[in-house]
């Protein structure tokens, strides 16, 4: 059974990738033509292409830099200082990770869009030109919103090594004469560097390829990015050849990055950061340092969670949004309309819940069997299997969607909910595989072997020993997949059809009609996500730190 899951995993990767590659060298939909590079030529001759590539690269690099600095700072404050409320901050810093980037972008528009945002309206009467520089409809805006969203990724990557590094390494530097800042620069940073760099590479690839935020902030001003260009090429009049060529180039770039990242992690894996030794001493902050730490924490949580959510809730409760909130005119009309009068919502809620629950279950099952293969059966093959099966994580959702669209457009699966389910699972099963595999690594194989020697069959061993021991990882990755699937947009937007809309798709559809409706539905989706987060926080976020 484990090997079967590995084979399915391979097929889920090879299918869309091969379809995209093949489609990129076919120039006509209707007649058989010789393979040619005409699509790529068209791509290179497109004057908007250079702009799209530049913008996408700028997005990736900008987001990576900002979220790296923020993520490391927050992690350091939480695990290495003595400020009060550390435990709370430790969990709260993760909240943006669970929010939808598309909703985040919309909320930021409500909060600070040019001319119409809450801040703008507040400031305008006193200083009309103070906020002229603040234009969210730009690559800068895209970078800003994405950075807030991706900071927890870096935070999760570095918090583990930062917490578990041997305190003696730092103390040795201090005892031998290094000051605090020298120690941080010369000892602490290099020690967390492998974790930071591998996290940064993932953020670089995934943030650059994310479709949600550019759709909200770049498309309205006709600013080109690669994900929105792919979306554009699939809209009427569709040009699959062009989209496939664009997808092929992106796929090659992201796969190279992911493979590099994995090779890098492999070569640095067990560096000097070990669980042994003793925990590093917490740094006693000076009063000024304490204020600084609180300010950073408060600002991050305000920017990443509180302010945009406040704006979102205000908009959802106002009948006509003008940029100012009037508490005396609170109304639930938007919710009433979206929940009961708008036909799509209930259908979309059903679809989203079905996709998230079934997709997460399939994803975790596949990932568990694959992880078992990698850690217990694979031997030398496992060294290839794990990195290859991890590849989809680095591929943008819209490219995965495109791949399955091309692959399955002529099959009965097309325009059903199943094509979306397949795409969801194909994109994120590696997430489950990796967290379960990490936990399996820490389980002594003798625990299973003694069950076998006690007379249990393989299935009994799985049922009574392996699965119960893996439960924390299974629960955590199920909840994560659930969250990811509830907010998924990149693949859904290409694959949905009438009757298979998801909440995220309906949000985009509604955004052309009324701010209040979007906000009301976004709040609904948010409640689902935060519910999953609450469960997750209770079950222990520790699993993600591996």
């Amino acid at each position: 059974m484990p090997w079967l899951a590995v084979v399915i995993g391979f097929l889920l990767i090879v299918g869309p990738v091969a379809a995209t590659l093949l489609r990129s060298i076919i120039t006509s939909d209707t007649e058989l033509t010789l393979p040619s590079l005409a699509n790529f030529a068209k791509l290179l001759n497109n004057p908007g292409m250079a702009e799209a590539v530049g913008n996408t690269l700028a997005t990736g690099i900008g987001v990576t830099l900002i979220s790296s600095v923020l993520g490391c700072t927050l992690a350091w404050i939480v695990v290495r200082t003595d400020i009060g409320g550390r435990r709370w901050f430790e969990v709260l810093n993760l909240v943006p990770f669970f929010l939808s980037p598309y909703v985040g972008a919309m909320s930021w528009l409500y909060f600070a869009a040019p001319n119409a945002g809450i801040v703008q309206k507040l400031v305008k009467p006193y200083a009309p030109h103070l906020l002229d520089w603040l234009n969210l409809y730009s690559i800068g805006g895209v970078i800003w919103v994405l950075s807030l969203f991706y900071t927890p990724y870096i935070y999760l990557f570095v918090i583990g090594p930062m917490r578990s590094m041997d305190g003696a390494l730092e103390d040795a530097a201090r005892v031998h004469g290094a000051r605090f800042w020298t120690t941080t620069r010369a000892i602490t940073l290099p020690l967390i560097m492998p974790a930071l760099l591998s996290g940064a590479l993932i953020v670089l690839v995934t943030s650059a390829g994310l479709f949600d935020v550019p759709l909200a902030l770049a498309s309205p001003r006709a600013i080109h990015t690669i994900p929105t260009d792919i979306y554009g090429a699939v809209q009427y009049p569709t040009d699959f050849g062009y989209a496939a060529a664009l997808g092929t180039l992106t796929m090659v770039a992201t796969m190279l990055c992911s493979l590099f990242q994995q090779r890098y992690v492999r070569s640095r894996r067990f560096d000097t950061v070990s669980g042994k030794g003793y925990r590093p001493r917490p740094v006693r902050l000076s009063p000024a340092g304490r204020i600084g730490a609180y300010t950073i924490e408060t600002l991050y949580l305000a920017m990443g969670v509180v302010l945009p959510l406040m704006a979102l809730i205000m908009v959802s409760l106002s009948s006509l949004w003008t940029g100012t909130f009037n508490p005396s005119r609170i109304t639930f009309a938007n919710f009433r309309y979206v929940w009961f009068n708008y036909g799509l919502t209930q259908q979309a809620l059903q679809n989203s819940l079905f996709l998230a629950a079934v997709g997460a279950t399939i994803g975790v099952t596949l990932g568990m069997l694959q992880a078992y293969f990698v850690r217990r059966r694979g031997g030398r093959i496992a060294r290839i299997v794990e990195p290859v099966l991890s590849l989809p994580l680095g591929i943008p959702g819209i490219i995965i969607g495109l791949g399955f669209l091309i692959l399955l457009i002529r099959t009965p699966l097309y325009s059903t909910i199943w094509i979306m389910l397949i795409a969801y699972v194909a994109h994120f099963f590696p997430f489950a595989m990796r967290s379960i595999s990490a936990m399996l690594l820490s389980l002594n194989p003798e625990l299973e072997q003694s069950a076998r020697a006690s007379g249990a069959t393989w299935l009994q061993t799985m049922r009574y020993v392996v699965l119960p021991l893996l439960r924390p990882a299974l629960t955590a990755s199920w909840l994560m997949l659930f969250v990811i699937f509830i907010r998924e947009l990149g693949a859904s937007i290409l694959l949905y059809a009438q009757g298979t809309e998801t909440i995220s798709v309906v949000l985009v559809v509604l955004s052309e009609r009324n701010f209040g409706y979007v906000a009301a539905l976004a709040v609904t989706q948010l409640m689902l996500l935060l519910g999953a987060f609450a469960l997750f926080a209770r079950k222990g976020a520790s699993i993600l730190e591996r």
């Binding site: 002594n444 003798e446 072997q449 020697a453 006690s454 393989w458 009574y464 020993v465």
Partner: protein
């Protein structure tokens, strides 16, 4: 620890029931390779029903691999394994039974106690997977828990137990389904010294009471000698020596075994060989810088003057006295001028480093009343064993 005696276990084969000393485990020509590395180079072992065998050797010698092959946790490349007359592995006949089909018990070095189960759930697991009715399984579990002294902890989570208690859980779990063969992989190496001695005795008593066949893997000669009636010494995937503990310790089969047991091993050249009666030869060999020592040779292969040989002598048999100018007392011991380099106090005795003829030796003696400097080293001829060369069985196989 007092406990009731378990019912006598059911005999698995008719043949085994007839002769008490019938071979219960038979391993033949076991070969296991990991890539280019040969972990086992054709190992053969036989263990009689109800007997205890220790596989002893340095780390990497293949003892654990052998045990895991018997348990079915590792698949050998060649050879055959029979347990209680039932072939469980045979490369020629393509037989390879799953671990759960081999009806045995195993205690791991890590104990492998399942942290998500209570003590009773851990111990009752082999009965549960055999679908024994619950009431019967519970009483049988309690019986074994009583036997290992864990009954008061039966509903405690296994995670809250001390190392020694976890070890008992692992032991009880390996015994609860009354297997006729129980395997132990370094069972004591995670316990502290005092607990280890206590467990050795308890384990020995348990084995005698329940009369299961046991195979122990250990790198500790004291443990092997204390637990097992037969010992197999392994080295680089080959068997160096086998026999009862006293025999193989007092007369090591090869220089490797001697060195492993802590003998001083001095390489040299044969000078004279004379018949000493009783199947032994008195041999004089030249070692180091012009030192000539005599010892006994029990081998059958002819030994010629000028051939390389080694002299092996146990640390306790290296005597040290104050330096003498005259010949010393006429006690028949060979006397050699030596230098005492260092002594370290080890409780009941001291361990000394001495240099004689440019060769370093270790001596274990009661504390001496003299300091580092010149001493006289004394050796009894009958304590010095001569062996033809320094090669081990593994070396010879490798050369062949």
């Amino acid at each position: 620890m007092v406990a009731e005696v378990l019912e006598p276990p059911v005999q698995r084969t008719a043949a085994a029931a007839q002769t008490q000393a019938a071979t219960y485990v038979r391993v033949r020509g076991l070969v296991k390779r990991f890539g280019n590395y040969t972990a086992l180079g054709g190992v053969g072992i036989e263990v009689a029903e109800g007997d205890t065998l220790a596989l002893l050797g340095p780390s990497g010698c293949g003892k654990t691999t052998t045990l895991r092959c018997i348990a079915g946790l590792e698949t050998p490349d060649e050879g055959s394994i029979e347990i209680g007359g039932l072939p469980v592995f045979d490369s020629a006949r393509r037989i390879d039974l799953m671990p759960e089909q081999r009806e045995l018990g195993i205690v791991f070095q890590s104990y492998a106690v399942w942290p998500h189960m209570t003590v009773a759930e851990n111990v009752g697991f082999p009965l549960k997977v055999r679908r024994m009715p619950k009431a019967e399984a519970a009483s049988q579990t309690d019986e074994v828990l009583e036997l290992v002294g864990l009954l008061p902890w039966r509903d405690r989570s296994a995670m809250l137990l001390s190392g020694g208690q976890q070890q008992r859980v692992a032991l009880a779990r390996a015994l609860v389904h009354k297997p006729r063969l129980v395997l132990f992989d370094e069972p004591m190496s995670n316990l502290d010294a005092q607990l280890r001695e206590q467990m050795r005795i308890e384990l020995k008593l348990l084995q005698q009471r329940l009369n299961f066949t046991a195979i122990f893997v250990t790198h500790d000669q004291t443990e092997a000698f204390a637990l097992a009636r037969h010992v197999v010494v392994m080295n680089r995937g080959h068997i160096e020596a086998e026999g009862e503990p006293r025999g193989i310790f007092r007369r090591p089969a090869t220089a490797f075994v001697a060195r492993f047991f802590g003998y001083n091993v001095l390489p040299g050249k044969v000078q004279t060989v004379t018949d000493a009666g009783g199947g032994a030869h008195a041999v004089d060999i030249a070692v180091g810088d012009g030192l000539r020592l005599g010892g006994l040779y029990y081998g059958t292969a002819p030994l010629r003057a000028g051939a390389p040989a080694v002299l092996c002598v146990r640390k306790e048999q290296v005597g040290l006295t104050a330096p003498e100018t005259a010949a010393g007392p006429r006690d028949g011991r060979q006397r050699v001028p030596a230098m005492l380099r260092a002594s370290s106090f080890q409780g009941l005795h001291d361990e000394h480093v001495v240099i004689a003829g440019g060769i370093e030796l270790r001596a274990i003696q009661p504390a001496l009343e003299f300091e580092e400097g010149p001493v006289t080293m004394t050796l009894a001829r009958e304590d010095c064993l001569i062996m033809p060369d320094a090669l081990s069985v593994a070396d010879q196989k490798d050369i062949a």
